[in-house]
Amino acid sequence: MNSLTETKRRPTDWQGAEMQKRIAGRYAAERRFKAMGMAAIALSAGFLGFLLVVMVGNGFLGFTQTELPVEIDFPAVTSGASPSQFQGPNAEANLQVMGLREIVNSSIEIQYGPEGTDLFSSGAWTAVSAKILADPDIVEQKTAVNLPVASALDVAYKDEGNPEAEAKVSELSGQFSTGFNWNFLSNSDATDPMQVGIWGAFKGSLITMIVTLMLAFPVGVLAALYLEEYAPKNRLTDLIEVSINNLAAVPSIIFGLLGLAVFLNFFGMPRSGALVGGLTLALMTMPVIVISGRNAVKSVPPSIREAALGIGASPLQVVFHHVLPLALPGILTGTIIGMARALGETAPLLMIGMRAFIATPPSGITDPATVLPVQIFLWSDEVDRGFVEKTSAAIIVLLLFLLIMNALAIYLRNRFETRW
């Protein structure tokens, strides 16, 4: 045991200057390492904060519009229209007959000169139309209405536009006012950034999500129950499990290719419709639901199953009467997370033609539709500077919905999470 090498060892001089210096160095390294960790966290969170600040900063303006007052002398220009004409079912038709657009344009020209209409958004007259429908009495009066200005002016007033628009803005300064852009919530896509809205895309998203949910949820839950409760240990089951795990990791654009090749070209389903979009996203979401569903089912303790089996319930009754209700909150949490992912998905929908210019909201699952993220993508491609803030505003709306969905998922998880 006591070999020669051993005897050479002498006690460590812990208090020696060299050793103390070394230890100081080690502690410095410790501090550096810790600081690096903190920096990494700060940087990551900083990116998130920066992204949100940029989006909110840009997008906030998208909800507002710059307006100029226009005085409309209704009795003079309408040759005696009465408020009753603009009530009831014929109201809109009567507005058309009256030629409101021309009336508004001439009023503008009276006030701002022959070039005046260039100052205003091409859809400015719709604001007047909405005002009349809301309060028909104004057609008997001379009223001043605030109408949205043209996009270039809007940009110039809010931020920095082209020199021409800037000049106009300084010329008219003092007359501008800022109003909430209701159009943005109620309109659909348009070529004039002052007239665009997210309603069409939002409705498209809604319909697509409904299709996705109707398909992915039942299939996902049933598959999860089968795999967790009944599946025999055999090659087929292994194959199913491998497929599900792989599908969860397949890039989303591949699902788009599948949708294009199978749903559109093979089955001949209508292009650009929410049906195909929903189907494609359902295939993508299903594995997420299956995986979270399996975890939820797995967390129901076996004692519950044994108790039910013990009083003579059949295996199916055990699952549908006892396991499924107990696992449901967990399954729902996973489903919401999967749906939130589907709601933000863009790439596969581009493949199946949901990138068309959709100026009217879809009314069914086969109508051409677009969805919020795709709308964001389309607007981001527009050259008109007016679209920048609209894009960011649409992003705010999208993020808001995702936030709500995730908050709901977290609430469900905390509210119903049972520790067995």
């Binding site: 410790e30 903190m38 966290i41 998130l48 992204l51 295939l283 933000g344 993508f377 981001s380």
Partner: protein, 461 residues
């Protein structure tokens, strides 16, 4: 009658069948002649038994019919006198027929080809005729099977067992959808790729260095489908630049959160980092294009790189890296947490500082898990589409200069498939070939990563 209405009608009839089946069984139960125990299953199950008999055969028939009838309809339409004028050329013929069908079924209003217009009537007749046959047959099936099942109801009918068997089958079918989808993806990609490779040699595609599908001249002897620049761009952005950002930040975040941070800070910070993974990619893409790319270009110009592109690989890669941070961080978190605490104690008890313990014991022990996580992250990054579509360029450059523009596989898939293009052109089919490569690579990366992670988990169990 449209398919949907018919389906609802059948389901409605099924509900009625359920009612009658239940009624009969309940009558047996309360009739006095048979005691409760004489009825094998509860009346409800008898109701479902009848309802399923009424619905399922008819539904299956309808499914088969909807596949078979278009061919029958076309055959019938072709026997009409109007069909005699059709051109002999198969391609033109098919185009006219499909247009006529679209008009006849109301999907299209006007015909571009006058010949189609003449075919609309025969088509409409044929469609009506075959729809009628289908509807009548389906309804007959509902009644026949429903009555058959109703007659079957006896006290000792094992209705529950039978229902359960059907339910089990439904569960199995739901699970099989995963396999069907996987096979569907694979087959559709392979099928279109094979068509592509009949026009462009796979060697040229996989090893060619010139990507310029716009310059393609004719149906044969195509050039410009060399995908190497795309593969390079994908690797450069997704596996190199993005990982240079994501690995250190993700790993260090995970280390700090698991090893240093107080519990309270951790419980706040972890969800905040996870928000980064929940932001839709289109938002990242917009952020990259709007904010990051111009800033990076200005920076590059200011340090004297004059040819810096505003669609630089760096902008797309950095933003993609940010997106991947929570992914890497949560994988690293899991891996480090899986290292037994005895390992950590052992090192600390030797007088190692915490960072020495982390660097020399925990990370090496967790390395397989971390590597697996990074592989998964890479597979995610190279399949990511929106960021590169919006922030990376379209120029297929083979360059390692992060300030210049490169293009990726996913960008090109989107580029090739959007806009109006006929489906048989090599340009469109090339997208599927690219998709096939992407699918196989991500699949392999995932399989390897999962295997590595699994092995690693087993080592500590």
């Amino acid at each position: 009658m449209t398919g949907a209405t018919l389906l609802f009608l059948i389901i409605g009839l099924g509900l009625i069948a359920w009612f009658f089946g239940r009624l009969k069984a309940a009558g047996m139960q309360s009739g006095g002649k048979h005691s409760r125990s004489a009825l094998h299953s509860l009346p409800n199950y008898h109701g479902w038994y009848v309802a399923l008999w009424a619905i399922l055969p008819a539904a299956i028939f309808l499914a088969v019919w909807s596949f078979a009838s278009p061919a029958l309809i076309t055959d019938a339409a072709l026997t009409s006198p109007a069909a005699a004028q059709l051109p002999q050329d198969a391609f033109a013929r098919a185009a006219i027929l499909s247009e006529a069908r679209a008009i006849a079924s109301g999907n299209q209003v006007n015909a571009f080809n006058p010949l189609s217009q003449s075919m609309v009537e025969p088509y409409r007749d044929a469609i009506t005729y075959y729809q009628m046959i289908g509807t009548v047959a389906a309804l007959l099936l509902v009644f026949a099977c429903g009555v058959y099942a109703w007659l079957q109801i006896k006290p000792d009918l094992r209705a529950r067992t039978k229902i359960e068997r059907v339910t089990m089958l439904v569960l199995l079918l739901a699970s099989l959808i995963a396999i069907v989808t996987t096979v569907g993806i694979f087959l559709s990609l392979v099928f279109e790729s094979v068509r592509f490779f009949s026009m462009v040699s796979p060697i040229d595609f996989l090893f060619g260095t010139e990507w310029n599908p716009k310059a393609v001249a004719g149906p044969r002897g195509e050039t410009g489908f060399g995908a190497i620049p795309l593969f390079w761009g994908t690797v450069f952005i997704g596996a190199i630049i993005a990982m240079i950002v994501a690995i250190p930040l993700g790993l260090m975040s995970a280390i700090y959160l698991t090893q240093y941070a107080p519990a309270k800070f951790r419980s706040w910070m972890k969800p905040i980092l996870e928000v980064l993974a929940g932001v839709p990619t289109v938002v990242y893409g917009y952020f990259a294009a709007l904010t990051v790319a111009p800033a990076l270009r200005d920076f590059a110009v200011s340090i004297g790189i004059s040819n810096a592109s505003s669609e630089s690989a760096l902008a797309a890669g950095v933003v993609m890296g940010i997106m991947i941070i929570p992914f890497v961080s949560s994988m690293a978190d899991d891996s480090i947490a899986a290292v037994p605490s005895a390992m950590r104690d052992g090192s600390l008890a030797m007088g190692a500082t915490q960072s020495e313990t982390i660097k020399k014991v925990l990370i090496p022990a967790a390395l397989p898990g971390v590597v697996g996580g990074v592989l998964l992250a890479v597979s995610r990054a190279i399949g990511e589409t929106m960021i590169v579509v919006m922030a990376a360029g379209l120029a297929a450059n083979m360059t390692a200069n992060p300030f210049s523009s490169v293009t990726t596989v996913t960008t090109q898939i989107v580029q090739l498939l959007t806009g109006d293009q006929e489906f048989d052109s090599p340009k469109t089919l090339a997208a599927f070939a690219l998709g096939l490569v992407l699918f196989i690579v991500t699949l392999l990366l995932n399989l390897i990563a999962l295997r590595v992670v699994k092995k690693y988990r087993e080592a500590y169990e």
